[in-house]
Amino acid sequence: GQKMSLSVLESMGFRVGQALGERLPRETLAFREELDVLKFLCKDLWVAVFQKQMDSLRTNHQGTYVLQDNSFPLLLPMASGLQYLEEAPKFLAFTCGLLRGALCTLGIESVVTASVAALPVCKFQVLIPKS
């Protein structure tokens, strides 16, 4: 059903994210802390994939980060507002996997979920469990 296909999409995004996490930070020096990695995701990864930067990054410094994109390129052509809200997860699953894969290559295990309140604004929540 739909749940299966979402997890398949997410795992595809994961594999791509792993490869991108290897290729993108090529000459960049090693990251000092988690926040640097998240900033890299918001700037370099997003620009490489979507040709724009993430609009905002918020954190509670306890391992939860919220990345907000005010005009997500995959949702932009669809509609703006509340129309097609239930179709949105299909487009976000791959991107969640992308973030999770890039974090995995850079050494961070995480859980990434996405939520849409109104197209095309979407938020990606990254949860990094404290070990």
Binding site: R15, A19, E22, R23, R26, L29, A30, R32, T105, G107
Partner: protein
């Protein structure tokens, strides 16, 4: 020329080890294994240093009487270890750096291969071919792999092995093959036979 090259995953198991076949391979495997301790030490020392001094290239790890061991770590904590003959004094630091950079490029290409699962041993022969096919004392040669279905003959030679120059021509070329195909002492075996 490097005597042994190893790619080690972040969990410290080898993904790829290749050494020149004339030597005792086990000795190199052991040497690479012991050098991992030095690599870990350097990484933790680097962790406390300032951001400016952080670098991917770790430099000379330790010298023995016959060999020198160099290290390099990527952002994803994958380590590359290279063992070089001590008698080869012509190899300078920036040559070692450029060899590591090529190795890093090849490893990134392997990662991007959709048929490769991260964490598996690197089996592909073509993956790290630019690294293993090296001419003695010189920089690694670039291998150009052309399609068999090309209608035009391949003009650039593919350099493989110490002194060979193999020209791979398409079997289906409409133009006749004018130059003879020279195969050196250590030809690369063609995985796709008899087309």
């Amino acid at each position: 020329m490097a005597v042994c090259i190893a790619v080690i995953a972040k969990e410290n198991y080898p993904l790829y080890i290749r050494s020149t076949p004339t030597e005792n391979e086990l000795k190199f495997h052991y040497m690479v294994h012991t050098s991992l301790d030095v690599v870990d030490e350097k990484i933790s020392a680097m962790g406390k240093a300032l951001v400016d001094q952080r670098e991917l290239y770790l430099g000379l790890l330790y010298p023995t009487e016959d060999y020198k061991v160099y290290g390099y770590v990527t952002n994803s904590k994958v380590k590359f270890v290279m063992v070089v003959d001590s008698s080869n004094t012509a190899l300078r630091d920036n040559e070692i750096r450029s060899m590591f950079r090529k190795l890093h490029n090849s490893y990134t290409d392997v990662m991007c291969n959709p048929f490769y699962n991260p964490g598996d041993r690197i089996q592909s022969r073509w993956a790290l071919l630019p690294v293993s096919a090296s001419s003695p004392g010189g920089p690694y040669s670039r291998v150009r792999i052309q399609s068999r279905w090309a209608l035009l003959p391949v003009s650039d030679p593919v350099q493989v092995g110490p002194t060979s120059c193999v020209r791979i021509q398409s079997r289906w070329a409409l133009l006749p093959v004018s130059d003879p195909v020279q195969v050196g002492p250590t030809p690369v075996s063609d995985p796709v036979q008899g087309l």
